[in-house]
Symmetry: C2
Subunit: 342 residues, 2 copies
DNA sequence: GTGAAAGCGCTAACAT
DNA sequence: ATGTTAGCGCTTTCAC
């Protein structure tokens, strides 16, 4: 059975398509009898207006596109969850895409989405894109087409609404916490050294050190990529100096560090303290449970969605409010992987 | 700057819309000079054909809809990842929705998606839907409209392609593993007792017990819901009998059980063995690392997507291949939460 | 080599 | 109260 259209219904009652349309939409112009007959028939045949046609007509489709770099990262899943929640409440659907940290895939996706498919875009940049600053595609979209909200991994070059984490403060705050619990030799391990986020956290880390007049030692900083062996790098680090604290810049990294330390018989937190990022289930259930920086992923998603939808629905207005960047403060969730405050 | 359309381009060169269309699509009918001029202009102005219009024309939009019950569950994230991977390879996009285990939200989403928005659907039923067997909406879609693939939480009432886990065997296999490592009093803790998946695993559990002539004791079965306090229920269980093995029917449940046991000073696996489901990061990094049943989520997603896309692309053919149900076998990933085989 | 016209499914302004 | 027409943006016959 083929899908039923207005035309079919109209034909069945020998009326015009517009009459059928009005009847189904309950217009006052149509006689009650006919309206009832048509509506009943439509229901029975499971008639549904074709969205594609409506979208073309309205130049809008109540859909927002989301691009995240990596869906296996719990932070992004939380954000997605927040976005979905708000979008759903406001009657929007989400078409979600994964860039896999690849500039090329991100570009293709952007290209696809920026062609009438969605009313707006929520994007966190791929690492490659951020590193190479190849945001021309984004800039074009901003200039010419649909509203866009950047979150977490953003770019200064793109002029649009943004929701970011206060990563500088997060790096500062966590490092300071180490210092306040008596740690002196604090290492930083980052899988995201090339992203804005990683850089800011690193700056915060340095700031906290310099406040206490602790000289920065670059051998205490371990930046690694997808193909590097964290185990080997950790060996080098641990042999370099008597480290007594390690800041892992994402959740899985912190968890892996914890495991490596335990395997080598370091006691956590007695010998070495560990702080991670993204307050997910992993951090909570590992032992000892990890002290982590919560970025409030769900909240970030909700904020981004709210901001975008507002922008979409005001896009017909003449006066556009200026773009704003919302900075979300992090919270330090203290658990068993750090020592007591002095 | 408004979005540019074919009409604009045609006007700019004082040609007809159809000429512009052909020029941009590189038709042989158009003179080389004009083609080049128009193409250059189009590129420069960032012209992109409007998808909505194309979709309406083609009655297809290279998009598949996915509905999962819960995105914070790692299994479903893995499936999503697998779906995205295959869809992306074949040039499809994904519009992903969350039913939040609610029949109502699932229905609304279905209603929305089944109106020309997507070419096909991949769905895992919400718990409520499965429990109440309210699959009429699904059946209608299958009968009348677009191809659909059900995965994991399926329904016999819906006649379509399916990808399921061999949950019966999984329950059987894990229980048998307990028995083979010398466990005698095996408890089962399930947050999904009302879903097909939970029921099958439960049946497998009973089968393994009966094979060894171990009488089934319903006090060893803990079914709990969203609002129940697992801690209290575990107390009751542990006080009931000297349990020496616990099968947790999803990842987070197994992890929580592990934590509760550790808190009460049970040694795992010496006093009590634990097996969980969904081989995610949590199971891997908890201590002791959990022995788990891997359902191969990513593979399931890939299979479902392949099956759906094939169905979509053959939908013009006259002869439709019969619907098939793919059963994916699980693997038991043995780690530290279970004893050695005898 | 170029253009006019039809049509995808629908709505809305404008007749009648 | 019902029908006609135009048009959303595009492709595709079919004329010229």
């Amino acid at each position: 059975m083929k899908k039923i259209t207005l035309k079919d219904i109209a034909a069945h009652f020998s009326v015009s398509v517009s009459t059928a349309s009005k009847a189904i939409n309950g217009s006052h112009e149509i006689s009650v009898g006919l309206k009832e007959k048509i509506q009943k028939y439509a229901k029975q045949k499971h008639y549904k207006p074709n969205r594609l046609a409506l979208n073309l007509l309205n130049k809008s489709n109540k859909t927002i596109g989301v691009i995240v770099p990596n869906i296996l990262n719990y932070f992004f899943v939380q954000v997605l969850y927040g976005i979905e929640k708000v979008a759903n409440e406001k009657g929007y659907n989400i078409i979600s895409c994964i860039s896999d940290e690849s500039f090329e895939k991100e570009s293709k996706t952007l290209e696809f989405l920026d062609s009438g498919t969605v009313d707006g875009l929520i994007v966190s940049l791929s690492e490659e894109t951020q590193q190479k600053k190849r945001v021309k595609a984004l800039m074009d979209i901003v200039d010419n087409h649909i509203p866009i909200v950047l979150f977490d991994r953003v770019s200064d070059l793109v002029n649009c609404d943004k929701v970011v984490v206060d990563d500088f403060e997060a790096g500062y705050k966590s490092t300071k916490y180490f210092l306040d619990t008596g740690c002196k030799t604090i290492a930083l391990v980052s899988p995201i050294s090339k992203s804005s986020v990683g850089k800011l956290r690193f700056e915060g880390y340095k700031k906290a050190l310099s406040e206490k007049y602790i000289p920065f030692d670059e051998n205490l900083v371990v930046n690694f990529g997808r193909n590097d062996d964290l185990d080997v790098l950790m060996s080098l680090l641990l042999n370099h100096a008597p480290v007594d604290a390690i800041l892992g810049l994402d959740e899985i990294t912190a968890v892996k560090i914890l495991q490596i330390l335990k395997l080598r018989r370091y006691r956590v937190p007695e010998d070495i303290s560990v702080i991670g990022f993204t307050n997910g289930q992993l951090s909570e259930f590992v032992s000892p449970a990890l002290t982590t920086v919560s970025q409030h992923g769900k909240y970030i998603g909700e904020s981004a969605a709210k901001q975008l939808i507002e922008r979409i629905e005001n896009s017909k207005e003449e006066t556009q409010s200026p773009f704003q960047t919302k900075v979300v403060k992090t919270s330090l969730v203290v658990r068993g992987s750090t020592r007591e405050l002095l």
